[in-house]
Symmetry: C2
Subunit: 414 residues, 2 copies
């Protein structure tokens, strides 16, 4: 899915020549989908590099030329660099322990005046290690610093985490939950089963947020229990653009929804909205690789009386055990208490994290990804277990392709 340039987080890379801006960029993106295109520029023009920076999504790196020249050509460069400063959402000032000085301090000052978040990267730490007096002085100025070596790869994960933490909210939090799939003046059908877990007199947050999101997008919706879905559909003279159901009613809803109407679940919407759908699709498919004795982590964002308590503590463990045909070692994590060491887990299954901001969920996804541990959510696990994964992913071509690609790979392996 292409993102228009304006939706991408603009990350400006600044610094003197030869501090390693380009090699840093390569190190950040080496594991990635790769740079989509390089927009060619003259030697004085900043180079724009649109790319997918996981776990953040589409970003635009603006690689400025070195901005330390003072000559005639330098003056022109400085002017162009100033123009980049003005459209930077997040600034990375690259330097090293040898050259750090007034030039960098002035750059940082300019971003602070503009309220633009700024990260200082001390690169080439293999050649120029940081001195503690310098670290203390920077800490005193409350500068966010990361030490990296593009050559050895040290600090690259920390830089990625710092970018995630510093990115402005607007780029982290996706505006749409569902209205981009429905469209203005169009209708969605929301299926909301009321079981004993449903809190009295309320709807759960993802349901409320979905209704509100549809209204915000000039869409509207019909809200039914699964038993009234057929009657609801019968009342309409134009089919809904999309049916969204609670994962637990998936089979009944799939049976009652004509195949030409796209169908998905609140969990899948929130895997996309709060996390990363493609990553979680990959995660759900890793269930097939589980073996008896494997360690699985089930993580719940709410620390007290979560809505999905018996889903996370009873239903999913029971189903996984049956599926694997042997005992799994299942750990639980609650609230902010996510284990520091997750390297032993073969799979992490997270709740929808509807109470959290996306930044927090992306941070966990990133940690799992760095260790190559599959991560998914409750709803995707349920959808996968029910065998309706493909239908539920239909509205999301990118995620569907991830699924099909994985199936093709398996088939090729035999």
């Amino acid at each position: 899915m292409k993102s228009p340039k304006s939706f991408r987080l603009h990350i400006g890379l600044f610094g003197q020549r030869n501090v390693g801006k380009s090699s840093l960029l390569n190190a950040l993106t080496s594991q990635e989908v790769s740079i989509v295109s390089d927009i060619a520029g003259t030697t004085t023009d900043p180079v724009e590099k649109p790319m997918e920076l996981l776990p953040l999504g589409p970003v635009l790196f603006i690689d400025t030329a070195g901005v330390d020249d003072e000559g005639a050509l330098g003056q022109q460069r400085i002017r162009k660099t100033r123009a980049v400063i003005d459209r930077t959402d997040l600034a990375i000032v690259v330097s090293n322990a040898e050259v750090w000085g007034p030039f960098e301090e002035k750059l940082v000052e300019q971003f602070r005046e503009r309220d633009v978040p700024v990260l200082v990267v001390f690169n080439k730490t293999d050649l120029y290690p940081m001195r503690s007096c310098m670290q203390n002085s920077l800490a005193g100025e409350k500068l966010k610093t990361v030490e990296t070596s593009a050559t050895t790869g040290a600090g690259i994960a920390a830089l990625r985490e710092a970018i995630l933490k510093s990115a402005p909210d607007d780029f982290i939090n996706r505006p749409a939950i569902v209205n981009d799939l429905v469209g203005p003046g169009e209708m969605a059908m929301l299926v909301v089963p009321i079981d004993k877990e449903a809190p009295k007199g309320r709807l759960i947050l993802p349901q409320v947020q979905s209704i509100r999101d549809l209204l915000d997008g000039d869409s509207f919706c019909m809200v039914v229990k699964e038993r009234e879905l057929r009657e609801g559909l019968r009342r309409l003279n134009t089919p809904p653009k999309l049916v969204v159901t609670d994962s637990q009613a998936f089979l009944k809803v799939a049976a009652d929804t004509p195949p030409e109407i796209p169908l998905t679940s609140f969990s899948i919407l929130f895997a996309r909205h709060q996390g990363d759908l493609a990553e979680m699709v990959r995660g759900a498919m890793a269930i097939d690789q589980l073996q008896a004795g494997d360690k699985v982590l089930i993580a719940e964002a709410c620390s007290h009386h979560p809505i999905g308590e018996d889903i996370g503590t009873v239903k999913i463990p029971r189903w996984l055990t049956q599926y694997v045909g042997g005992k799994l070692e299942i750990d639980s994590a609650r609230g902010r208490d996510f284990p520091d060491n997750i390297s032993d887990y073969k799979l992490i299954i997270h709740c929808g994290a509807c109470m959290w901001n996306r930044r927090e969920m992306l941070s966990r996804i990133m940690k799992a990804r760095q260790l190559n541990i599959p991560i998914t959510n409750y709803g995707l696990t349920i959808a996968y277990s029910l065998g309706i994964f493909e239908r539920a992913l239909q509205p999301f071509p990118g995620a569907l392709e991830v699924y099909r690609e994985a199936l093709r790979k398996r088939a090729a392996k035999g």
Copy 2:
């Protein structure tokens, strides 16, 4: 509207003969709609008196014969009285300072064992004043006591308040918000405008509660903004049973809703659910009697950043002032800080109190009623001001009749 017997709060009146049970009942009901019927019984049979006890609504008083007899006829009476104890939701043990003793204490004990709330009324305080040692001893036992004189009327308001406070939740909190007006398998249309006051990413509580209430009643709904209402209606091949709108969009929604479809507002639903619709209809009509210089109290249940802040503090005061054509003295009350002395007000306008339980709202309505001060809510005030009162009351025959009766009285006065 008739209430089936089982929905009425069963209030058992117990006590020795001649403590004044009947006169107490008459005092409680003298201002009321009157006793609907007396079910005749033999001298030993308890007498059932169904009535409207404001502000509670339909109750069934069960007036037991004196239960102090010890003879043959007495044994039979005691047996029948025991049967009454078993179906009592709230017990009132009537006594006085002269006769209080082991008989009453044993009665109280029986209710406590059954977890039935019990009030002890010391009647005839004009003849038998309470002694402080007795009051202390009863307070030590944590007995809820009220001192009354049915003859002078003293304590009757306090007894009414104590009944309201002690009645079990199930009788105070009405189960239905809207689903009784829609019916199983039927549809309501909910109109939810999204303006700058709407909290980001959410729906306000009355809207969520209404959707949930419809699902609980096996009904379903379509949720639209006011601009999409026509399109929503156009999509349906069967009209909705009811359209419910936010009061602020009333005129547009009334224009876009065919006249044969019943229409009301969330505020009116909540005047009924959380308070007393008929009382609040009378209250709204009192706006016509306001004159420049009158004192008006605007009461908001939320103490911090209420949703309807500018409705209560700006819109309604402005509109009232214009309507009256002169300055009003408008006071504001927030949260639990309801003024002790409300006797100077000519009108009380309350928010929908969606965050409260009904008991609390009824208690305020009762206080206003005792002083004959009209009380209404924001939404009814807006509906009245927009001139769509009659249409908005159509789904509620009882409240509509209150409105029409008041109009007839005014017309008769000339």
